[in-house]
Amino acid sequence: MNLELFQTPEYHRDLRQLQEVDFVLLELNLYLDTHPGDAQAIQQFNHYVVERKKVADAFQARYGPLMNFGHSASGTPFTWVETPWPWQI
């Protein structure tokens, strides 16, 4: 495991960017759960769905898979078990 990569300021910056876009989506999701008719919020949600994919794809290309069970492609050896876990960083 190349731990050094996950200790760089760039990693923390990129992770932060992903956490920020995911937070926007989570907040909009909870809001829409109780305001399902708000078309403007839905438009905003769908905009960030596209944005999120771009950010997550770039993140995974650099730092390995984010999700298990086939939602992220793997490098060799199986990258999922090679990269550090959130509490190890």
Binding site: H12, L15, R16, L18, Q19, D22, F23, L26, E27, N29, L30, Y31, D33, T34, H35, P65, L66, M67, N68, F69, H71, W80, T83, W85, P86, W87
Partner: protein
């Protein structure tokens, strides 16, 4: 089903080894108003709640699991370098005797998590009022925990979690209003 994402919802940094604070944080790990109780409460209530609120309970329960992971990360980081002596001095001697430095679902007083902490009444208003109260109690607990540490990195993560309780409480209150509106509409018949 659930799929895991290999990242925290919000960064968790700690500036020192601090088993004393880790012990207090266990209140939000395996305590009555902690994240495990919250996640399991909402995840279980959703099967019998009216359809309009199932999405909200599912989504908040899922977010609670990410908060559980943040608390676990805090406890892990605060205790991973602690010696048995430091654990004992911090009041975690009994914890160490049984679990070494492993995490265990108990509250700050060492009492194991219990399903008696959570309810499911099959009555949507009763369930949602419990959920609102749970969020407010968790918010208060986060404030007491923030007051107990001078670690600004830890405070930052705890403040994020405190704010999430406020948002969840607000959403549950809106869910009550949605259900009240439906009840009112039925009275027309």
């Amino acid at each position: 089903m659930w799929v895991y994402e290999k990242k925290l919802q919000y960064p968790v940094r700690v500036s020192k080894c601090d088993p004393r604070m880790a012990k207090f944080l266990l209140e939000q790990y395996g305590g009555a108003d902690g994240e495990l109780a919250a996640a399991l409460r909402y995840m279980n209530q959703r099967y019998t709640i009216p359809d309009k609120v199932i999405g909200l309970l599912t989504d908040i329960a899922t977010e609670e699991f990410s908060h559980l992971e943040m608390i676990a990360t805090m406890v892990f980081k605060l205790t991973k370098d602690a010696t048995p002596q430091q654990m004992e001095e911090a009041g975690l001697g009994a914890n160490y005797a049984s679990h070494d430095n492993a995490l265990y679902y108990s509250n700050a007083g060492g009492i194991p998590w219990s399903a008696t902490y959570i309810q499911a009444k099959g009555d949507p208003i009763a369930d949602l009022y419990e959920d609102i109260a749970a969020e407010e109690k968790a918010r208060a607990t986060y404030q007491w925990l923030i007051n107990m540490t001078d670690d600004v990195d830890l405070q930052d993560s705890l403040k994020f979690l405190r704010e999430r309780e406020i948002v969840h409480s607000l959403r549950f209150r809106e869910a009550v209003e949605i259900l009240k509106g439906d009840q009112g509409a039925q009275k027309v018949f």
